[in-house]
């Protein structure tokens, strides 16, 4: 930014002797180009240094890459299902065996997967509800304009920041250790992260709320809680709702992977399948996860647009 004064043109030129417009312009142009070139070179050097260091630190060398890339394609080859059109919709035989090449064979454990996906969605709903409820309560003391005093504000802000800062999966790791393998650890981890993330967003919404209704409620003798409930909540409720729905979409993704550390949901199965097998089961679970996430996104987007649309037309 140091070169910006030269952009000021003639007004910034110190007057030490007469000079015509062309030479002034040329001089400024030269200065501008020189400083621009300098910045470009500096930027390029910084970039190259970063790149070099990154390659060195992460050992991202061409030979490793050359050895790795073919293996990637090989791996993707092995996880693809070997479906055959002729038997694609064959059911089980009388002995209860599925025919290789049929969908039934590919999705032998279909109902196990469905149960886990159901669990994943329940985890996301519970964590979103709990997290949003706490975020709702904390968003008022964490809003600079509404906090009853600066102490409460500071503490609730820092609390939300910490909740938001720790990655969910790390929290889940800790909870799994504390309370054992299972979805509870995942729910708690996601709920805490949601608390922090939504709390911050909610507090920002609160800070943008008009102070007039709040003043009105103060003037009738309303307590702090009444000021929030009558003066602020009606203004911010629609925004809170759509933020919470957005968070729900994110939480479905989170709960589908949080099982990697044993915290329940389809992620646990995904981890098991990827880590122990190199066959079409991997593609089967991955496909289900992608479908689930996409469908939830579509539904949630619909609800959000409907709700916001309705609010705006009232």
């Amino acid at each position: 930014m140091t070169y910006t004064p030269t952009l000021g043109g003639s007004s910034a030129a110190p007057g030490d002797g007469p000079r015509d417009a062309v030479s002034t312009f040329e001089r400024h142009r030269a200065e501008l180009r020189a400083s621009k070139r300098l910045w470009n070179i500096l930027g390029l050097v910084a970039f190259v240094v970063c790149l070099g260091l990154s390659i060195w630190v992460s050992r991202f060398y061409p030979d490793r890459l050359a050895a790795g890339v073919p293996r990637i394609f090989e791996y993707f080859g092995t996880i693809m299902p070997d479906l055959q059109w002729s038997v694609l919709f064959e059911g089980r035989t009388e002995e209860g065996r599925a025919v290789p090449g049929s969908l039934t064979f590919w999705y032998t454990d279909f109902w196990t997967y469905m149960r886990l996906i159901w669990e994943t969605i329940l985890m996301a709903i519970t964590a979103t509800l709990i997290g949003a409820a706490v975020a709702f309560v904390l968003s008022f003391p964490a809003a600079a304009n509404l906090a009853p005093n600066s102490w409460v504000y500071w503490i609730s802000r820092r609390f939300l920041e910490i909740c938001r800062g720790i990655p969910e999966i790390l929290l889940a790791l800790v909870f799994v250790f504390m309370i054992g393998i299972g979805p509870l650890a995942g729910v708690l981890a996601i709920a805490i992260h949601t608390m922090g993330a939504l709390g911050k967003l909610f507090a920002e919404v609160n800070e943008n709320a008009s102070s007039r209704p709040v003043e009105g409620i103060t003037a009738v003798g309303g307590s702090w809680a009444e000021r929030m409930a009558y003066g602020v909540v009606p203004q911010v409720a629609p925004n809170f709702f759509s933020y919470a729905l957005l968070r729900f979409e994110i939480n479905v993704r989170a709960s589908s992977i949080i099982g990697f550390v044993g915290a329940g949901g389809i992620g646990q199965e995904l981890n098991r399948v990827i880590s122990f097998y190199s066959d079409d089961r991997v593609a089967a679970v991955l496909l289900l996860v992608v479908l689930t996430v996409t469908i939830i996104d579509l539904i949630s987007e619909r609800v959000r647009l409907n709700y916001i649309g309705r609010e705006n037309f009232q």
Binding site: M1, L7, L51, V57, S58, R59, F60, I166, I257
Partner: protein
């Protein structure tokens, strides 16, 4: 007579007002409708608490306390292998940087193929978009796990994971930016008789470059967060150190590393906000 006092309101008056303004009074149906969402949510949460066995949290309070104590009491701080920790953090940053860079380069090409106004062939566009949807639909941690299986433990898998998931998201954002550009400038370049590549270089790139840069910077920030946890599945970076120490029961070191990660994340947030503001300001100046 008209000194209004609520205590002076007679039951007769209440009935009369109720007859005139029935909507202003609570009705059983209205009450149910108002409370139903909240009651249902509470019932759901209570039910799911039972389903997820929230009681376990209380039963394990002794373990919780033990772990919390282990987090706080730091022992033998001399032998903590700090070099490994900070190399891990450097590796995390490197993974984020390389992954974002590769993702940006890839998205630069694919973004144009997925944009309606550049790629007129519908089928190609649709296929590219569906593939991008799949790349995006799978979390980077899953990609990490997959690439660890494919290329082995280490940062290479992490870089690839960030690259692939960025490719999905950035390409989509880039193609949207390309679709939203001003057509007149493109026509101007076309009118000079430029080739398709020339049109892209002089008609499209100048318009979309600022958007691309700011989006990539934003992704660099969020990728640093992802990179810290990719190690949990073995894809390099600080996450690998966290999980190794955790498995080894070195909880004090875990707490130390997590604190470092938190500082790193807050610092990256701060720097990235500054850089983006600066980039916007610079654009404004020029």
């Amino acid at each position: 007579m008209s000194i209004a006092a609520i205590s002076a309101v007679t039951d007769d008056q209440i009935d009369r007002v109720r007859a005139d303004h029935p909507g202003a009074f609570a009705t059983p149906l209205g009450t149910i409708r108002r409370w139903a969402p909240l009651v249902l949510a509470v019932i759901y949460v209570l039910g799911s608490m039972w389903y997820f066995e929230f009681g376990k949290l209380l039963e394990s309070s002794e373990r919780v306390l033990r772990l919390l104590r282990a987090f706080v009491v730091w022992r033998d701080m001399d032998g903590w292998a700090y070099d490994q920790i900070y190399v891990g953090i450097a590796q995390t940053l490197a993974m984020a940087f390389l992954g974002t860079l590769l993702g940006t380069i890839g998205a630069l090409m694919i973004g144009f193929v997925a944009a309606r106004n550049v790629m007129p062939v519908m089928i190609v566009r649709q296929i590219v978009r569906r593939i991008l949807d799949v790349l995006r639909g799978i979390d980077s941690l899953v990609w990490g796990l997959v690439f660890v299986r494919a290329v082995g433990l280490g940062p290479l898998a992490g870089v690839l994971a960030i690259f692939v998931s960025d490719l999905g998201t950035l390409s989509k954002l880039y193609s949207e930016a390309i679709e939203n550009i001003d057509r007149k400038q493109v026509e101007g370049v076309k009118a000079t008789g430029a080739s398709q590549l020339g049109v892209i270089r002089y008609g499209y790139i100048p318009q979309v470059l600022p958007v691309f840069i700011s989006q990539s910077l934003y992704f660099l920030e969020s990728n640093t967060r992802s990179a810290t946890i990719l190690g949990i599945v073995g894809a390099g970076g600080i996450g690998m150190i966290i999980i190794e120490r955790f498995r080894a029961g070195l909880y004090d070191q875990v707490a130390f590393v997590v604190l470092n990660v938190l500082v790193l994340i807050f610092a990256i947030d701060w720097v990235s906000k500054r850089v983006r503001l600066w980039a916007i300001g610079e654009k404004h100046d020029a």
